[in-house]
């Protein structure tokens, strides 16, 4: 299913936060959205998730319009937002409890996703006992278990330290390759964006528009070492320059 945003704009009060966003996300794509703080990245994701309606423009799945949140667009935010009273397995099972499948099948699926995110041994642990990285894995597994058409990630790793973050990046690439999920991920970490994505969108600030839509022509298999390859560094520099330029332009307009 292809997700299409057509001239989407979003106002908060009289302030325009997103403006004229045209975006087509094709199935299986890994898209990263980068931009300065306050440029409207989270707003864009919330609009796609259906949590807040666009002021103008339309969102469609293959022509059918999107009007509210649903399990076809799983959202994972920076804090993961697990259910603290549910164990890891029960968290992953939440979305599956809302569809008519047998208890046995549900348990099988939950076990499979826990295996995929490497948390089988933590199935019966409460989220309060998990580390930040483990919590994000559970949140991702919980969203994936609903078999979303697109997985929306809002800075999912930004609260993690560098090593865990790299582990999580490799993990996310693997999950994406294993499952063929479409991913739209927001991050302010340019390196992360270039490493993960097949396509990087640079958002300009105030109002947020898509300033650049950049393909990432790195090989499909990406070990961490690729972060030192010339092509990677080049792409990273390009994106960083774009983000900085947008930020400067914004500051200049404001000043």
């Amino acid at each position: 299913m292809t997700l299409v945003l057509d001239k989407v704009a979003k106002d908060y009060g009289t302030r325009r936060v997103l403006d004229a966003v045209d975006l087509t996300v094709t199935p299986g794509e890994f898209t990263c959205v980068v931009g300065a703080s306050g440029s409207g990245k989270s707003t864009l994701l919330n609009v796609i998730a259906g949590l807040t309606p666009p002021t103008q423009g339309t969102l469609t799945w293959d022509g059918t319009s999107i009007t509210g949140p649903g399990p076809d667009r799983g959202l994972v935010c920076q804090t993961g937002e697990l259910f603290p009273w549910r164990t890891v397995a029960q968290n992953v099972s939440f979305g599956l409890e809302l569809v008519p499948i047998s208890r046995r099948e549900r348990a099988q699926r939950v076990a499979w996703y826990l295996e995929e995110v490497g948390l089988s041994s933590h199935a019966d642990v409460l989220p309060g006992k998990l580390s930040g990285g483990q919590r994000q894995r559970v949140a991702i597994a919980r969203a994936l278990a609903c078999e979303p058409h697109v997985l929306l990630l809002d800075e999912p790793f930004s609260a993690l330290d560098v090593q865990i973050k790299e582990d999580m990046q490799v993990f996310l690439r693997k999950v994406w390759q294993d499952m063929g999920t479409t991913v739209v991920m927001v991050t302010h970490d340019v390196e992360e964006a270039v490493f993960l994505a097949g396509r990087v969108l640079v958002l300009s600030s105030d109002p947020g528009r898509i300033a650049r839509d950049l393909p990432v022509d790195l090989p499909a298999t990406r070990p961490l070492e690729i972060k030192r390859s010339p092509r990677f560094l080049e792409l990273r520099a390009t994106v960083e320059d774009l983000v900085r330029a947008e930020h400067r332009a914004h500051e200049a307009r404001d000043g």
């Binding site: 949590l51 949140p69 649903g70 959202l75 935010c77 804090t79 603290p84 009273w85 409890e97 309060g128």
Partner: protein
């Protein structure tokens, strides 16, 4: 930077702001161990138990000393021995059991009714903004009316049987508990609700599987606080008009100046209160294990 400031800085090794500012007045070095006044300072398990024991034993000793020394007329302050004697008399005559059961039954009925109403109302107010807007102003007002002031009115309206006594408990508890429950339910994080919606939760599912489990420990906490109020109100209601119950027993003992009986009843009331509190706390800790 002036050479003067540079020199001061070198001498004291302290961080400085603007060089033309004088150094902050000298502060005394912090004591190595924080004193007794340091907020939330940990105490040893032994100290904790000693203080806990003291908390109960000190007033008991004071009572014992005051009443046995003869400094106070035993008509005003019965000795612990006399109180225990009165307790035993009341127990053997059966009136203690009858009175206790009568009061407990009223609390269970009245408080149960108040809980049923307030949990539903509070839950609605915490969940739906429209319910909050509709009910919060009126409840905020009427909860300031003392329920005990309604006893005469309630007796005019409902007669002198059980209904006015239950009504006093309900009135005394229902408004406070409603607002407390509403506050608890309002605490459910918006991001958690949003995450649930992107997992396919409809409003009904959100209420059943997110808002309710998230609020349950807090709701039990509110009930715990208000259980004490319910217990107070039943005694007040019985003081005014009843032919049974612990409050009634107090009024009756007052007529015959039997302070030892009054003390015995107070002890029973206290014990039941502790029992209710502990059981609700155990329940809360079981339900809200995740919240610790």
């Amino acid at each position: 930077m002036t050479t003067q400031a540079a020199r001061t800085r070198e001498a004291t090794q302290a961080t400085r702001g603007r060089s033309d500012w004088a150094a902050l007045p000298a502060r005394t070095a912090r004591p190595r161990r924080p004193g007794w006044l340091a907020p939330q300072r940990a105490i040893s398990a032994r100290t904790r138990w000693i203080l806990r024991a003291l908390s109960l034993l000190a007033p008991l000793t004071a009572w014992l000393a005051l009443s046995t020394s003869g400094a106070v007329d035993p008509k005003f302050l019965p000795t612990p021995a006399a109180t225990v004697g009165a307790l035993r008399d009341m127990a053997s005559s059966g009136e203690l059991l009858t009175d206790t059961l009568a009061s407990v039954e009223r609390v269970l009925l009245g408080f149960g009714l108040a809980l049923a109403i307030s949990v539903v109302a509070g839950f609605a107010m915490g969940t739906w903004r429209w319910a909050l807007a509709l009910f919060e102003p009126v409840i905020g007002l009427v909860r300031y009316w003392p329920a005990s002031a309604f006893i005469p009115l309630l007796m005019i309206w409902l007669g002198i049987g059980e209904p006015p006594k239950l009504a006093v408990i309900v009135l005394g508890v229902v408004f406070f508990n409603t607002l407390m429950v509403a506050d608890v339910v309002k605490q459910v994080p918006r991001r958690l609700l949003e995450a649930s919606m992107t997992l396919g939760a409809t409003p009904g599912v959100l209420i059943r599987k997110v808002v309710l489990p998230h609020s349950l420990p807090g709701i039990i906490d509110a009930a715990r606080v208000n259980a004490a109020a319910a217990w107070n109100f039943v005694v007040i209601a019985e003081l005014v008009a009843a032919t049974s119950g612990l409050g009634y027993r107090i009024t009756r003992s007052y007529r015959f100046l039997q302070t030892d009986k009054i003390f015995a009843v107070l002890i029973v009331i206290g014990l039941i209160g502790i029992l209710m509190d502990v059981s609700l706390r155990v329940l809360r800790d079981r339900v809200g294990r995740w919240a610790q």
